[in-house]
């Protein structure tokens, strides 16, 4: 097995609707930018992994039509759909393809074009026998979990709103982000329309059109192609039971993220994540979730997440900036969102994050979250 690094990334400007491109062309935009960033051509790419939740756009086998946009012509192309974790699953698959020794250069592209479909089709993710007649979408499910989290850990709506404010203000310095709201405040979040108690509109992620690509290279190629490659140090996946009612206090315990992080930290030798990690891009579909993830990721003890956001520890100038890109709360083309986490983490350690660069970032964490409780944890570093 080989060491693997990311040598380039590319993404589209994520927006509410890209009426000017097909899905295939959207993928080609991100692919072209990633190739340029990596300094290679499409002919150097050995294999392609695609990430997309095609049911949202009313498609089946989307790699058939869209594969061309990623240069999949007569190449090994594989497509993955694992809910919100699609992007990180694809990134981990691409990493495995490279580490296996089978391929030297692997392109991973995730995309979603929510404007072309109906997200209610996401109902299909819900168990058809027991859960569907009551299911109230992602926001309903999050709200249920959040009610337990709030009851046990005591976070306030204001603290959650601070997470939403941090995200959109960070996004204002990310030219690719969808929601850029420099003037957003806690009051505006709490005054925004209630979706499902206690989640307000501005607590929740948007639906975006967008694509994002990363390019992996095996250890014998990476240093020749890239002056400062982002080496994959750990990539861990954990999944859990599907019924919404099975997992005891899901957001409170978040055992998949906890387990995956523990394993990843052990592989890299991280014992104090808050001190040792320079920047984190974590997949937070709703503001409260980010607070729960601080605890599950070991950034703080249980019950301390509110203090972390109150003290500004996870702001851009804090000890551990979380989501300098604006996160999923600012940009959410579902099939791409996990890839964006990895790409943004890579951009940080490569020093290519522009206006939202965390100074001297060397060790970065990226996570994926999906369905009810699936988690991916990826750690990248220079050297």
């Amino acid at each position: 097995m080989k060491r693997v690094a990311v040598i380039g990334t590319g993404q589209t400007k994520h927006t509410k609707a890209r009426d000017d491109v097909t899905q295939s062309e959207l993928v080609r935009e991100a692919t072209t930018r990633a190739l340029a960033d990596a300094g290679i051509t499409i002919h150097d790419v050995d294999a392609v992994v695609l990430s997309n939740m095609e049911l949202f756009e009313g498609r089946a086998l989307p790699e058939m039509w869209v594969g061309e946009g990623a240069g999949g012509y007569r190449k090994p192309v594989m497509k993955i759909a694992t809910g919100g974790t699609s992007g990180t699953s694809a990134c981990i698959a691409g990493y495995h393809q490279c580490a296996s020794g089978l391929f030297d250069i692997v392109l991973v592209v995730g995309w979603e074009k929510h404007s072309e479909g109906a997200t209610q089709t996401g109902m299909a993710l819900t168990d058809p026998l027991w859960d569907r007649n009551v299911a109230s979408g992602a926001v309903g499910n999050f709200a249920l979990s959040i009610s337990q989290y709030v009851a046990e850990r005591g976070v306030t709506p204001q603290q959650a709103a601070k997470v939403a404010v941090k995200a959109r203000r960070n996004a204002a310095r990310n030219p690719y982000a969808h929601l850029q709201m420099d003037g957003i405040t806690v009051e505006k979040v709490l005054e925004s329309r209630m979706l499902a108690d206690p989640i307000h509109l501005l607590d929740m992620c948007p639906q975006s059109d967008g694509a994002c690509a990363v390019i992996y290279a095996a250890e014998d190629r990476a240093p020749k192609l890239c002056p400062r490659p982002a080496w994959v140090r750990a990539a861990v996946t954990r999944h859990d039971q599907p019924y919404i009612g099975d997992l005891d206090r899901r957001l409170v315990t978040m055992r998949t993220l906890r387990d995956a992080a523990r394993e990843a930290y052990q592989r890299v030798g991280i014992t104090e994540p808050l001190k040792e990690i320079d920047v984190a891009e974590i997949y937070e579909p709703v503001s409260y979730a980010e607070l729960a993830w601080y605890e599950a990721l070991g950034f703080c003890a249980e019950g301390e997440a509110g203090r972390l956001i109150d003290d500004g520890i996870t702001e851009m100038n804090g000890e551990l900036p979380v989501n300098p890109s604006g996160g999923v709360l600012s940009t959410n083309p579902v099939g791409a969102s996990g890839v964006i986490r990895v790409a943004e983490a890579v951009m940080q350690v490569m020093g290519r994050a522009g206006d939202h660069q965390v100074p001297d970032a060397r060790l970065a964490l990226a996570t994926g979250y999906g369905v009810y409780a699936w988690s991916d944890v990826i750690i990248l570093s220079t050297g």
Binding site: Q120, D131, R132, N133, V134, A135, L144, Q148
Partner: protein
Amino acid sequence: MTELLRVSHTMTLSWRYGTSWYFAEFIRALRDERRLLGLRCPVCRRVYLPPRPVCGNCYAELREWVEVKDSGTVRAFTIVHTPIIDPTSGQLRPTPYGMALIQLDGADTTLNHYLAESNPAKIRIGMRVQAVWREERRGTLSDIVHFVEMNNQTMNDEQ
């Protein structure tokens, strides 16, 4: 520049999901006897409701039916304000409505179902609730209309 065009599609598709022995038995007891049944894992002894064939943690087959009460405790709740299409009817659900994860007495997992109450100030985790049944049962989980807070009046009715 030439004006950009869009291509539209409309399709009606329907699915019929095959179910298994445990679903048939659960629904039979619900419809014919107004009883709720869970399945107990032989290894960890957890009682699962809704029932399913295998325990997720132990990967052991579940065969032992356990009767579960139609009263329980609210473990999580929300009030939904966003209109969502109910897949069983194809219609938008009127909002707002209360929804909860309810641990029925005798079960170890929770059931996702409606609450009659839609004022969040009147709902709390740990609240005791009671199922309200439809007069004529058809053999679906919506034979339970929703759950209401148990109070002395309700308990007296039960006796």
